[in-house]
Point group: C2
Chain length 347, copies 2
């Protein structure tokens, strides 16, 4: 929302496609021992020895997944990587490489793409992954970012969606609903800005929830924590599409039911106060907000002592027989069927 009118603008046509790729990727270092050859040939070459390989891919589209009027390009590059790494960590695997393809209209100057790639590079550095390839092409309109992430795991460590068993505990990492409420604040400020462009928004009360929207972190630390605690979840999924939608996925793949407790849902105080301000029910947001790159898992009851009291892990329910269905137990102790209201780009 704050435009710098004096920024340098180099048209993309000046470099051409190969020049652009070279320019944007020349600083990228290779750190993973499994990367034999990164960018620079027809394909990258990797060596995973006897480990299993996980692969996941996600696409972010301008005006569908992000709005450049308030998402800084550097944050966007960072987030595009996080979205994908989250799916690797949800397998209890270690992320090792990514490919990044970008379609971008000529209205973007080179400096904008440099910002985007700076965010991508920062993410790669912090999360210890190699950028091993990609494609950079023009688009007729906006910006599209397509990332494929690769990771490794020993076969015995892999966790699928399908292993939950009745009586397992349902556990979520971090807190819920912050990314969605951050988006509400940003959307509101955008409307204010349209009416009065000179208004400088005071966003101090929303720092946490805005950061959760613009610069989320994937839970690499949870994979390590689980290993340290010697806990292997029976099933795991990332909850980017909303808690209720992902609970239904776990239930479907594991052929089980679940009971979820409203009073256990972990909410940050900023989420609670912003929900009050917007007059939105915080439970609805925790269930359906989406874009919280947290992990939802089931663990065996016997592992409960190992996770008890850990600030990163909250028990929010338990697994039942499939025939019992999927229910939210409210604070008033009524039982409501869980239905998916997660984000859907075609709506």
């Amino acid at each position: 929302m704050i435009e710098d009118k004096n920024q340098a603008k180099t048209p993309l046509t000046e470099l051409g496609e190969f020049g652009l790729i070279d320019h944007l990727t020349k600083h990228f270092e290779i750190k993973q021992s499994s990367t034999i050859k990164g960018i620079g040939d027809d394909s990258a070459v990797l060596d995973f020895k006897d480990q299993k390989v996980v692969v996941t891919t996600d696409m972010l589209v301008e005006q569908v997944h992000f709005d450049l009027s308030y998402a800084p390009l550097k944050h966007l590059g960072y987030k595009a990587i996080m979205v994908n790494l989250s799916d690797v960590y949800a397998m209890n695997a270690t992320a090792t490489q990514v490919t990044v393809s970008i379609a971008v209209s000529n209205r973007f100057p080179l400096e904008a793409l440099e910002e985007l790639y700076a965010g991508i590079e920062t993410a790669a550095k912090f999360y210890d992954i190699d950028i091993i390839g990609g494609d950079t092409t023009s688009s007729t309109t906006g910006l599209i970012i397509s990332v494929t992430a690769i990771g490794v795991a020993n076969e015995s460590d892999l966790v699928y969606r399908s292993g939950a068993k009745p009586n397992d505990l349902l556990v979520v990492t971090g807190d819920l609903g912050a990314a969605y409420m951050g988006l509400q604040v940003l959307e509101r400020e955008k409307e204010v800005f349209k009416v009065n462009p000179k208004n400088q928004p005071d966003l101090d009360a929303y720092t946490y929830i805005i950061e959760r929207q613009l610069k989320p972190e994937a839970r690499k630390d949870i994979v390590k924590l689980l290993k340290d605690l010697e806990v292997k979840p029976t099933s795991m999924i990332d909850i980017s599409d909303g808690l209720s939608s992902e609970i239904l996925h776990l239930c479907k793949h594991s052929k089980v039911g679940m009971e979820l407790y409203e009073n256990k849902l972990p909410l940050d105080p900023q989420v609670i106060s912003t929900c009050e301000e917007f007059d939105i029910d915080s439970t609805t947001i925790a269930l359906n907000g989406g874009e919280d790159y947290e992990l939802l898992m089931t663990i065996s009851q016997e592992d409960f002592p190992k996770i008890k009291g850990n600030p990163n892990l909250t028990v929010i329910g338990f697994v039942t027989e499939e025939s019992k269905g999927k229910h939210l137990i409210t604070r008033a102790e009524t039982s409501i069927p869980i239905i998916a209201k997660g984000w859907n780009s075609f709506d």
Copy 2:
């Protein structure tokens, strides 16, 4: 250009994002032994044992890489896979898996996406690869297809861009310039159609070159042929961006020069006759046309007897010391420096 006004039209909003993915991918079979888990979890899981893994990615954007007024969606799906497999074969590797992400505007009905996926599935079947993941999202305007292809090879079989040595022979597969001339014919017919929509074009004289544009094949057979002939190229690259551009890439990576002979360039008779009709120099097209998913390689002179007379392989030049530069030797025996005029989406 021939529209069926009676085709069924199911809006994408009717299925939603998850319903759409399920609907489009439910028929996909897993055939590769290296695919442990395909679509259906946070990530796919693969096991390559002691083989090396190659990874490549390419993005196709509507109005930049294809025009739906003459590219049937089924062919487009097929081509999106070919574009990527070609980069796997250029490593002398075997393609094993792909992920396919699609951003598509709501103006496409479900039936259009079914067509696209039918082409993707046909390619997967013919080329014996598994579709192991992807993302389907909406776009604000056109259609974008992002594919990542994965393959395997023994370390000793991998061929990079960097191994060409002076005195090696420069060899190309198939013939050159057909895809570009096919595009010229299609563009011309599109203009004719705009003026007179009732005109049914007679494209019999252009079947080969149009097929090369709309439904190219990646040269999986060449990887097998080289193995059968017991020839390991010293360097290899796919020539999708045009022969001259790729010659310069091989020279740069191998630190060598090259001499290319105009009278050796393999041209299909349809390319020659269509070039005459359009009054374009066929050598220029062979050098810079692009989108011929053929392989360009260098082989040691001692391997020449093994490839001599093979209809798939044409010797078009030889490798020199780097200081000699990169030259085309014309039919008139003059020497012209080779410069890249390949396709650039930002032009």
